[in-house]
Symmetry: none
């Protein structure tokens, strides 16, 4: 990928970190290959795959990718979504519809504006794309910091996986053509990484389980998902995460230890 020195303000030596495109449980190899092409059209070359249905490597993906096959060769393959985004600082979930998950819903434009600002600050952004047929599950979306929805005609929606990847990649490129607009204070914030937030969620869940919070049993899974969703959405800083761990330790002592 070419250098983007024009975008960099704080540190002239650092390139903007480009987003990682994460295909979650993709079904058809052809669509994986087409997504690689869509990405490379706009200079994105970092793909990750979560549990591709037909295994990996996939000759159909390679055949379809054609000149973009280096993207596939470099792709990371993971068993589950948490592992795939473990090193990411900001996770965006593409979905066709709102999910009632109380999470910011962004246009591709705003999402890539954020991604530019975060990338310029050296943060790693992941964009999640669901399986062809059904899209991301609520449990996947719950792990994301925000939702991206392409503003399609409400009467007609027919974007396929690679087209969705294409539009996000195009927006990434388009945003880079000019000086990226400031996106709130996000770039300067020392946001907690995905792993830190996940660990906080684990810790909270553990303490709460010991305290009997997840009751009744039938509601436990939903309560845990709500809780995960909340942690992911809050844009916690590293300092927040430390403080919350401290709180959990102090408060949970009576109940859990």
């Amino acid at each position: 990928m070419q250098a983007r020195s024009g975008d960099i303000e704080d540190n002239a030596a650092l390139p903007v970190m480009a987003p990682v495109m994460v295909l979650v449980r993709p079904q058809m190899g052809e669509n994986i290959g087409a997504s690689a092409r869509a990405m490379l059209n706009f200079g994105l070359d970092r793909m990750r795959l979560v549990a591709p249905r037909d295994g990996w490597p996939n000759p159909r993906a390679v055949a379809m990718a054609s000149g973009a096959s280096p993207v596939l060769e470099r792709a990371g393959v993971f068993d589950d979504l948490p592992a795939a985004v473990a090193d990411c600082d900001w996770v965006l979930a593409t979905t066709a519809r709102g999910r009632g998950l109380s999470k910011p819903v962004l246009t591709p434009e705003r999402a890539m504006e954020q991604a530019r600002a975060l990338g310029a600050a050296g943060k790693r952004v992941a964009v999640l794309f669901g399986p062809e047929r059904a899209g991301l599950e609520n449990d996947d979306v719950a792990r994301a910091n925000a939702i991206v929805t392409v503003p399609v005609n409400p009467a007609f929606y027919s974007l396929n996986l690679a087209q969705c990847v294409l539009l996000l990649a195009y927006e990434w490129e388009r945003q880079g053509a000019e000086v990226p607009p400031e996106v709130e204070e996000l770039a300067g914030t020392d946001l907690a990484g995905h792993v830190e937030v996940t660990r906080l969620g684990d810790h909270a869940e553990e303490r709460l389980a010991a305290a009997g919070f997840f009751f009744p049993e039938a509601k436990a899974a939903g309560m845990k998902r709500n809780l995960r969703n909340m942690w992911a959405r809050l844009r916690l800083t590293r300092a927040d995460v430390q403080m919350l761990h401290g709180m959990l330790r102090k408060l949970g002592r009576g109940a859990g230890e």
Copy 2:
């Protein structure tokens, strides 16, 4: 060719006139159908065809178009490009590369900005797309007022016909979003009010104080301020606040009660 009385009105109440997408000598019916779908995703439904290779109508186009087949049914079919754009006020030619034709070369963004402005003034804009294999010929491009080039990776270009249509249609839609979307549009979120967040802060402080969290004494004031600051910053929903109260009650029981 069908009558176009619906398009031609000088009425001030008219909506912005949407561009006509003109496929010039398209080869595969499937690509015509896929282009119709790409258009309709973003509300564009006026297609014209110039000398489609396999004649017209084309069952493969209809099969691929699926729910977008009304776009094909309404498509005008012309023998040559001059006839297809005879009633147009502004013609844009999509090409992958400059042609040395001394013509303005626009990004999709600028091109659709122009199209919006012209359409608002009741002008008819045509966007030309060339045949799959070779793209528009220089004679076609010579008839256009300006060139549109998608800013792809110079080292890798693999946009197909329908993808190119998709990107232009997307830009049309994006430019038309009346008010630029809010950066943080919390879809359907019931944010907690200030008083609710304050009460949560009080509750947390009380439980934490009972658990000996604010230690040492000299740092207590700063710790409390950080905590208040965090609650205020997190954009908590009503549901979050309830959940956090519940957590504090459960966890704090051992220490505080």
